[in-house]
Amino acid sequence: MSEPLLEVKDLRVEFPTRRGTLTAVDRISFSIAPGEVLGVVGESGAGKSLTGMAIIGLLEPPGRIAGGEIRLEGTRLDTLPYEQMRRIRGRRIGAIFQDPLTSLNPLYTIGEQLVETILTHLDVSQAQARSRAIALLGEVGIPAPESRFDHYPHHFSGGMRQRVVIALALCAEPRLIVADEPTTALDVSIQAQIITLLKRLARDHGTAVLLITHDMGVIAETADRVAVMYAGRIAEIGPVRDVIHAPRHPYSVGLMGSIPKIRQHATAGAERERRPRLVQIEGSMPRLNAIPPGCAFHPRCPKRFERCDRERPEPIAIGTNQTACWLYAERGE
C-alpha cells in the first residue's frame, strides 16, 4: 500500500474533571491511504466522534489530546499552533457533520458561504470563486445551481442542505474528509443518495474519507476498511468484508448479530419462532468513569477467561484483521 495519508498513533483524548481524569479515547492507532474510505463504527460514547474531532483539531475544552500523534502527509497536526491548524482545516481537511442545518450560517446565502470558503483557502478572484462554487453545487447534485446560488439555507430541504455542506467541505480540494454521521439526520431514500455521492466524490478526487457512523449498513455500502470502537479503544480493524462477514472480536460478533436484517421470510405456516430473537449483548457500554480493568469488554463478553480482567489486549493481526482480544493471543493463526 502507498504511503498513508493520515496516520494516527497511540492517540489519547482525556477530559480532566473534578473527580479525576476521564480517558475517552485510549491509545488508538490507524492509518488511511489516499482515496481510501475508513469507517469508524461503535455505539454512542465509544469515542468515535472525539477521534474525528481530535484529527480536525476541534476538541471542545476541557477535552485535550493527552498523548500520541496525528500526522497528515507527514506533518504533525496535534502539536500545531491554533492559527496554523486553522489554515489546514478547510484547506487540507474538510469536515461534514451530522446536522446540516447547524453547519450552515442561516444569515448568509449558500453562495456567499461557498465563495467565502473558497477565497479563504485558494488564491483566486471573486469571479473564479463564484464559478467554482456553482460548479461544486452542480457536482454534489443540486439542480439548477446558478439559481440556487443566492438562496438561504432555509430554502433547502435536509438532503439538499447536506449536499451544500459536502460542497463546502470540497471547496479547497482537501486531501482528507472527516464525515461525522453525515446521513444520520436524513431519511433512508435521501441517505442512499448521499452515500452514493460521497463514494463517487472520494473516488473521483482521490480524497481519503474518515466516515464516522453508528450505522453498519452505511459502512458496508461505503467504506473500504472499518474500525470497530468500544469504550474508547479499537476492538477490531480490517477490510469491511471481513469484519462484517467474519468478525473475530466477540464485541464485533455481538454487534453484527444485533443488527436487524430484512429477513427472507419463510413461507407462512411456521407459526411461532417465525420471529427469531436478535443476538443481544447483555448490559451496556461502561461509563467513562468506570471502565473495567483489562479488556474493557470483559464484563459483557461471553468468552471471557481469567486473563481478560487483568491485562489489556493489544491489537493482534489475524488474517487481514487486527483484533484486540486475548482469545487470539496464543494461537496467532
Binding site: S189, Q193, P260, K261, R275, S284
Partner: protein, 334 residues
C-alpha cells in the same frame, strides 16, 4: 381480557383524516391578506388491527405515522373519520372506559420520563390513576413485579431516571405502559433513539412480552429492517396516505407499490451483494401543497397521465392492499 372472545378487529380506522391549522397569526392574515392554511397530516387512512398481531406503520419523516399513533390513543382528535376500538367509536361517551385498555410508548426515553420522580412513582402512576391497587404495599409489590418483568431489579424502584442508560429508561417506559394492564400498545419509534445492541435487547423484550401477555402492538418506525423483525403486517405511508398494506412476508418478498420498492431498495445492504442500487431521485414534497393525483407521482418511474390527475384508491391486489394505478392496471411487472 374480558372481551377476548369477541372475534372482530381490535381497532378499526375508517377514512380518518387530521388537519392542522398552520395559518399565519391573525394580524398577519388581516394586514397581509394571508389565507388560512391547513396541513392535512393524515388523509383518509383506513385499516384494521387484529387481536394479538403486530401491525407496523413505516414511512419517511413527515408522512403522518406518528400522527396516526396520537390519533389512536386520543392525544389528537380526528378531523373526519371514525376510530373504533373493540367495536365502540372512540368519539362517543361510551368509549370513556376503553382508553385504559391502550397505552403508548414514546420514542425518546430521555424526554418521556419525569426526571424529578422516582421510578416507583413513574410506574405506579397509571396504577393509582386507574385504581388498580389500593394499599401502598400492594402498589409497591406490583411495581416491583413489573420492573422484574422488563428486566430491571426490584431495588430500581427507589432510583431516579438519570441513573439509568437509554435502554434501561426505555424498559421503565415499557413497565409504565404495562402497569395499567393494557391489551394494546402503541409504540412510536420505541428503539430509534437507542444503539443497535440495546435496540436488540428491547425488541427481544417486546416480543417476549407480547407472547406472554397476548398484547397487540401498533409499531411505528422508519426502519424497515426493524419492522421486518417485529411485524406480522406492514403498512407503508406516504404523505399522510396509505400506499400499501400487506403481510410482512408478502411485503418484503413481493413489494407492489413503487414507493415500497424504492424504500426497500434504499436500505444499505449489509450483504454487500454488489447489486447496483438505483437511488430514487427527488424528495418528499411539501405536505402543505401535495401534488394532485397520486402523491408519489413526481418521484415515480411508472407515473403516467392518470397518476397525475386521479388519486388512486386503496384496492386489494392479491392479499395486499395497494393504492397505485400502475399496479391495478397491471402495468408493473411483479
Amino acid at each position: 381480557m374480558q372481551n377476548a372472545a369477541n372475534s372482530g378487529p381490535l381497532l378499526r380506522l375508517t377514512e380518518v383524516s387530521r388537519d392542522f391549522d398552520v395559518s399565519r397569526p391573525w394580524l398577519n392574515r388581516v394586514l397581509e391578506g394571508a389565507p388560512h392554511q391547513l396541513l392535512r397530516a393524515v388523509d383518509g387512512m383506513s385499516f384494521e388491527l387484529r387481536r394479538g398481531e403486530t401491525l407496523a406503520l413505516v414511512g419517511e419523516s413527515g408522512c403522518g405515522k406518528s400522527t396516526v399513533a396520537r390519533l389512536i390513543v386520543g392525544l389528537y382528535t380526528p378531523t373526519t373519520g371514525r376510530i373504533e376500538f373493540d367495536g365502540t367509536d372512540l368519539a362517543t361517551p361510551a368509549a370513556a372506559g376503553l382508553r385504559r385498555r391502550m397505552q403508548m410508548i414514546f420514542q425518546d426515553p430521555y424526554a418521556s420520563l419525569n426526571p424529578r420522580w422516582r421510578v416507583m412513582d413513574i410506574v405506579a402512576e397509571p396504577i393509582r390513576v386507574l385504581g388498580l391497587a389500593k394499599s401502598p404495599a400492594e402498589i409497591g409489590e406490583r411495581v416491583a413485579e413489573l420492573l422484574v418483568q422488563v428486566g430491571l431489579a426490584r431495588e430500581d424502584r427507589e432510583k431516579y431516571p438519570h441513573e439509568f442508560s437509554g435502554g434501561q429508561r426505555q424498559r421503565i417506559s415499557i413497565a409504565r405502559a404495562l402497569s395499567g394492564s393494557p391489551e394494546f400498545l402503541v409504540c412510536d419509534e420505541p428503539t430509534s433513539a437507542l444503539d443497535v445492541s440495546v435496540q436488540a435487547q428491547i425488541l427481544n423484550l417486546m416480543s417476549a412480552l407480547q407472547e406472554k401477555l397476548g398484547l397487540t402492538y401498533l409499531f411505528i418506525s422508519h426502519n424497515l429492517a426493524v419492522v421486518s423483525h417485529v411485524a406480522d403486517r406492514v403498512g407503508v405511508m406516504y404523505l399522510g396516505r396509505l400506499a400499501e398494506l400487506a403481510d410482512a412476508d408478502e411485503l418484503f418478498a413481493h413489494p407492489k407499490h413503487p414507493y415500497t420498492r424504492m424504500l426497500l431498495d434504499a436500505i444499505p445492504d449489509l450483504e454487500m451483494s454488489g447489486n447496483a442500487r438505483t437511488p430514487v431521485a427527488g424528495e418528499v414534497p411539501n405536505p402543505l401543497n401535495p401534488p394532485p393525483g397520486c402523491a408519489f407521482h413526481p418521484r415515480c418511474p411508472h407515473a403516467n397521465e392518470r397518476c397525475r390527475v386521479e388519486r388512486p384508491a386503496v384496492l386489494s391486489h392479491g392479499t395486499a392492499l395497494v393504492a397505485c394505478h400502475a399496479v391495478q392496471e397491471g402495468r408493473l411487472s411483479a
